[in-house]
């Protein structure tokens, strides 16, 4: 100890040895609950202290910490009679309302920020989660992220693959079949319905941008050295009439004309399935006007939906 102090230009007489040991105790208890034996050994093994601590001295230190606002309890004998730090005035204090607001704001920006930032915030939330004890709030923090069931290592590979527009092979656990290998020209990562998808062009999915749930990719994707997939894809242009001029439109929906009671818009899409879902969600304020084949498809889906309700004996 003296040697250390000498090299650091602080002499033994010019520091509080007791103060130093009490700080070490708090720091050690902050890591995990500790038994007296563990604390004793920790002090003995410390390269500067090299002394054990008596149970009486330990009690005095704990009493002192309690005077400062700490709550320390001693656990059951069956669990090793460990000292547990329940309340620590020196830890970060985050209120329940602050957590709720953080979650609320995070949910509102998940679609706007890129996957890298999404991953950063998810990891930041994991860190904060360790500082709070309320299980509901812990769960709110964990569930806020679209990455909750995602392997973060796989996601990191996909982020880089999308950035470089790599051709990759993924092992995808499809809900309708077992695991299959799929080649994809990685384009972007997209958040929808609080889930993250890899979007790209795949020979297995003709004339559309394919979407794969990242949580269903079960192995690290393999990056191909040579690209074989043709990146050209003709976008789908769909004309619609919208009978609510205040309806919030998406970025790929462009107003091409405006009358007193309606808008005519054009949707540019690379995914027919998603566009169908979007049009259905708009309800009766939306009518597809072209192309005829897409209009027929929507009509056919609506007829099937009606039949389902009739079959359920309304």
């Amino acid at each position: 100890m003296k040697e250390f102090l000498k090299t650091n230009k602080v002499t033994y007489n010019l520091m509080s040895f007791t103060g130093f040991k009490s700080m070490m105790l708090l720091s050690y208890l902050m890591e995990a609950p500790r038994s007296y034996e563990e604390i004793r050994q920790y002090f003995k093994d410390n390269e500067y202290i090299h002394e054990t601590i008596s149970i009486d001295t330990l009690r005095v230190y704990i009493n002192s910490l309690e005077r400062l606002g700490c709550t320390i309890i001693r656990g059951r004998k069956a669990e090793g009679s460990k000292y547990k730090l329940l309340v620590n005035p020196f830890a970060l204090h985050i209120t329940n309302d602050q957590i709720k607001s953080l979650v609320k704001i995070f949910k509102s920006i998940t679609k706007t920020i890129d996957a890298e930032d999404l991953l950063a915030i998810t990891r930041f939330f994991e860190k904060i989660s360790r500082l709070i004890t309320n299980e509901d709030l812990k769960s709110a923090l964990a569930n806020a992220s679209p990455l909750k069931k995602v392997n973060q290592e796989i996601l990191e590979i996909l982020i880089n693959a999308c950035r470089r527009n790599d051709e990759i092979t993924i092992d995808y656990h499809s809900p309708s079949s077992s695991v299959k290998k799929i080649d994809v020209l990685a384009e972007k990562l997209l958040v929808s319905g609080n889930k993250i998808y890899l979007c790209g062009i795949s020979p297995q999915y003709k004339n559309t941008t394919a979407r794969f749930l990242v949580s269903r990719i079960i192995e690290k994707p393999v990056i191909k050295l040579q690209k074989t997939i043709d990146a050209k894809l003709e976008p789908l242009i769909i004309g619609c009439e919208i009978y609510d001029k205040n309806y919030p439109l998406l970025e790929n929906e462009k107003i091409i004309s405006e009358d007193n009671d309606k808008l005519t818009i054009e949707i540019t899409s690379d995914n027919k399935f998603l566009t169908t879902q979007r049009i259905l969600s708009m309800g009766n304020i939306c009518k597809v006007i072209y192309p005829q084949s897409f209009k027929d498809d929507i009509y056919s889906i609506l007829k099937k939906m009606k039949e389902e309700y009739l079959a359920e004996k309304i």
Binding site: F4, V10, L14, M15, S16, T18, G19, F20, S22, M23, L26, S27, N63, S64, E66, R67, L68, P89, F90, A91, L92, H93, I94, T95, D97, L102, K104, I105, K107, S108, T112, I113, D117, A120, I121, R123, F124, K127, P175, S176, K195, D244, N246, P248, Q277, L280, S281, G283, N284, K287, Y299, L302, K303, M305, K306, E307, E308, Y309, E312, I314
Partner: protein, 304 residues
């Protein structure tokens, strides 16, 4: 009642943590620091203070004296922050600037103030570097409707009963409702209300609100929890992930499932379930099921 402390304690232990607490709270002005040592000989107080500052130094805490105040440069008891964390904090900081005044903004500001005050030297360096390369821009959010959003935030905070006039599918509707909470999504702000006439939750786009006025001296009524029961089948049933507000009521041998969703705003659940096309049918309640059937019939009329 004041907490009863056990008798034996150690004065040095108390002093070191009192000093640490002042530093931790960024309140270590010289006068308050020296007050910790008032029980010591007056002519030795400076020497004792140095002794405790040395103790912190040996423990690894760097302390600088800036003007008349001691400032902690790193915090071994704090959160170890890396570049990802600093980036996350920065994103929230950018966002809070454009957020209208209200409970959410206040909470977020308090959180950021607290966490920024706990930055150590390393975190401060990372924070400074990220500030110089910052590209986040949320300025498009809510800027057109700031005043309305702030008004709605106030009604939600006060849990007010409000009279609301708003546009819905091109028509003007009126309702009396309980202002519940603000919902922010990608670019849009909504007020979630509980409609008193049909006892349903609804999210109303703030930009569609024509008038919103609070009704004084009105207490919110008992609100009935709402639930929607629906059946899914086929591919959807096998791939469906149950949401936080849902549970599976029944699973059939063909893989189809009956799901119950609780407290989801009516308009939102209708929009969500219609997207599942013919693989989903609403079973109950009857009024929501009829709303869906009417919507499908009205949509079909668009093409007939």
């Amino acid at each position: 009642m004041q907490k009863k402390f056990k008798e034996k304690y150690n004065e040095s232990c108390i002093k070191i943590f009192k000093l640490y607490k002042l530093l931790y709270e960024d309140k270590a002005v010289y006068k308050d620091v020296i007050d910790i040592f008032t029980e010591d000989d007056e002519d030795k107080q400076h020497v004792i203070l140095n002794k405790y500052l040395n103790t912190l130094k040996v423990f690894g805490i760097k302390v600088n004296k800036i003007n008349n105040k001691f400032v902690m440069q790193n915090n071994p008891f704090g959160l170890k922050l890396d570049m990802n964390d600093i980036r996350s904090i920065d994103i929230f900081e950018q966002f809070v600037k454009i957020l209208p005044n209200g409970k959410t903004r206040k909470n977020l500001e308090a959180f950021l103030k607290m966490i920024l005050s706990k930055f150590d030297e390393n975190a401060n360096k990372m924070y400074a570097s990220i500030k110089s390369t910052n590209t986040a821009d949320f300025s498009f959010y809510y800027s057109d409707f700031r005043e309305q959003i702030e008004k709605c935030e106030t009604f939600c905070q006060e849990s007010s009963i409000v009279d609301l006039k708003y546009l819905y599918k091109g028509k003007t509707l009126k309702c009396r409702c309980h202002a519940k909470q603000m919902i922010y999504d990608n670019k849009h702000a909504y007020i979630q209300v509980y409609k008193l006439d049909n006892q349903q939750l609804e999210n109303i786009l703030v930009s569609n609100i024509i008038e919103i006025e609070s009704i004084p001296n009105q207490k919110s009524q008992m609100e009935l929890p709402s639930s929607v029961t629906y059946k899914i089948k086929g591919r959807l049933a096998s791939a469906y992930n149950i949401k936080e507000n849902e549970y599976v009521q029944e699973v059939f041998s063909d893989g189809s499932k009956i799901i119950v969703a609780k407290n989801e705003p009516t308009d939102e659940i209708l929009k969500r379930l219609i997207r599942y096309s013919n693989e989903c049918v609403i079973l109950a309640p009857k009024n929501i099921k009829n709303s869906m059937i009417n919507t499908i019939n009205d949509m079909l009329k668009n093409y007939e």
